[in-house]
Amino acid sequence: MDELRELYQQVILDHNKNPRNFKTLQHVDKKAEGYNPLCGDHYTISLSMKNDIIEDIAVEGSGCAISKASASMMSNAVKGMTKKEAEELFEKFRSLVTRNISLEEDIENLGCLGALAGVAEFPARIKCASLPWHTLHSALSSQNSEVVSTE
């Protein structure tokens, strides 16, 4: 039960219930679709860019609590970041959920995203947490509003 509580922390349950930035954007510069055919998790990430900066981000779609909370927390975290900063954060996030970081300090540096550290104990769920990030990565790499499907 402890590991489960670690996984389903209050902050994750809160983001699952009230996901942030789940909306549509008026002006979309980049967009990608992420889909996990194994479980049906499906998200579309739209970005409004100003030069190299993510000015606004919108998430549409649905999935399990882990993928939804991850999408919600990611959207909060990357808003206002440059493309490079967002990609760097993706790398750190990936290390977090695959247990390549275990130092308290490093986890704390990730702020709210650190709440997903518990996912590392559930190998079957790492994909859930990473899906929104892979989708963001595809969106950032896409030309204009080309739709890229991950997985």
Binding site: L4, L7, C39, G40, D41, A65
Partner: protein, 412 residues
């Protein structure tokens, strides 16, 4: 152990036959409720595999030496067992394949390619497994044929009126699932086969979920083809059976070319072997076929009457209890059902439920169960599916239902 009345099955004794049922998962006793996915193996199957590799291993149909004769005899004796298991007319009608998926692909590529042309129609149902959709789609694309779908109602039952309307002179084959893996529905296939035959249309039955739960009689059903997998009837993975009426199999071209499927080969002309060997190119999965024979022996020693009675009680018990859990919606409420309980919960996504149950030692499947069109029909992304076998107990049913309380505890 729950005292709810049960059948003549000695569950305690049966459970002793399955070593894996005594393992622990996350420190809890394993409760294996994922039997529609794959089943566990009795000691007799495990011992048969060990015996084969320890004392019998050899190639079949090829050697003149002792071991080859032993292996050939063991392998061919399973053909007779399967013939009796399905009540086929002849052993010649039993082809060993990798599993249900390969059996369907064999029919598609051999019978289908020979007999289906532009403008023809192939009829399947809305509750087919991907393995009975995709091979036909590939054929349709190649031949410019059309795939037609028999619709289902909200309970997950086929609409027979619609089925009759879809049987037209253009229909060249009907391919139907006997028992739905995601809904549990038992389809009235005898009646449906009769209707197809009235129109002169052959019928393939996907029996993957039926073979472990009920006595199959291919002569009584009068189906033209019947497919099942060993791993779903408590046998090894990697093997299974295609049954086909002999006159159809004889008329069909080979599916794969290679050794054992020929009588003679020259660079000018090859003469194919007789059925069933014409369809068994290359060294087959000898050990697992022999293991499947042990699984059939085991199933028959337990007896389908007792199996069905016990599984019916498990399903009724689980259905009754789960309906009292608020926020649960059952997916698949057909009048005639196998022991499959598919559902969604208001509070949590199936994947989250699967993770929470897993920590209680409970194995269920979550996802679309390779039936995405069924998920689309019910407008859901996925379900949680608990599927019971004869070794499951009423006590497990109760623990499974009470574990759903943990989901509520976490998500409320």
């Amino acid at each position: 152990m729950n005292t709810k009345s049960t059948t003549t099955l000695n569950i305690e004794k049966i459970r002793k036959d399955f070593p894996i049922l005594h393992t622990k998962v996350h420190g809890k006793p394993l409760m294996y409720l994922d039997n529609a996915n794959t089943t566990q193996k009795p000691q007799s199957v495990i011992d048969t595999l060990k015996k084969y590799y320890t004392t019998q291993n050899s190639n079949i149909h090829r050697g003149t030496h002792y071991l080859s004769e032993v292996a050939t005899k063991e392998y061919e004796s399973v053909r007779e067992k399967v013939k009796n298991f399905l009540n086929a007319k002849s052993e010649k009608e039993i082809i060993f394949v990798r599993g249900t998926t390969e059996a369907i692909n064999l029919v598609v590529n051999s019978y289908g390619r020979k007999n289906i042309f532009e403008g023809d129609e192939i009829l399947i149902s809305a509750m087919e497994h991907h393995s009975n959709i995709v091979p036909w789609q590939i054929l349709c694309e190649e031949k410019k044929a059309k795939l037609k779908i028999i619709p289902i109602n909200d309970n997950g039952e086929l609409l027979l009126d619609e089925y009759e309307k879809l049987l037209t002179p253009k229909t060249k084959i009907v391919s139907l699932v006997y028992i739905s893996n995601s809904l549990g529905t038992i389809n009235p296939i005898k009646q449906m086969i009769e209707l197809a035959h009235r129109n002169g249309i052959p019928v393939l039955i996907d029996g993957a979920q039926a073979a472990p739960h009920l006595k199959v009689d291919v002569q009584k059903l009068d189906c033209d083809f019947f497919a099942f997998s060993s791993h779903k009837i408590f046998g090894p993975t990697g093997t299974g059976v295609l049954y086909g009426k002999s006159h159809l199999l004889e008329s069909m071209p080979p599916y794969q070319g290679g050794g054992d499927m020929i009588k003679s080969v020259t660079f000018e002309k090859t003469i194919y072997n007789d059925i069933p060997y014409k369809f068994e190119a290359g060294t087959p999965n000898i050990a697992d076929v022999i293991g499947m024979g042990a699984a059939i022996d085991y199933l028959q020693s337990v007896g389908f009457e007792a199996i069905q009675e016990h599984e019916k009680q498990l399903l009724e018990h689980a259905t009754e209890l789960i309906q009292s859990v608020e926020g649960v919606r059952l997916i698949g409420t057909a009048k005639k059902k196998a022991s499959v309980l598919s559902f969604v919960m208001k509070e949590a996504h199936p994947h989250d439920i699967g993770t929470i149950l897993d920590r209680e030692g409970i194995a269920v499947r979550t996802g679309h169960h390779c039936t995405q069109p069924v998920m689309q029909r019910f407008k859901i992304p996925a379900t949680v599916r608990a599927s019971f076998a004869f070794y499951n107990t009423h006590d497990e049913v109760e623990k499974f239902i009470s574990a759903l309380g943990k989901v509520k505890e976490i998500f409320s």
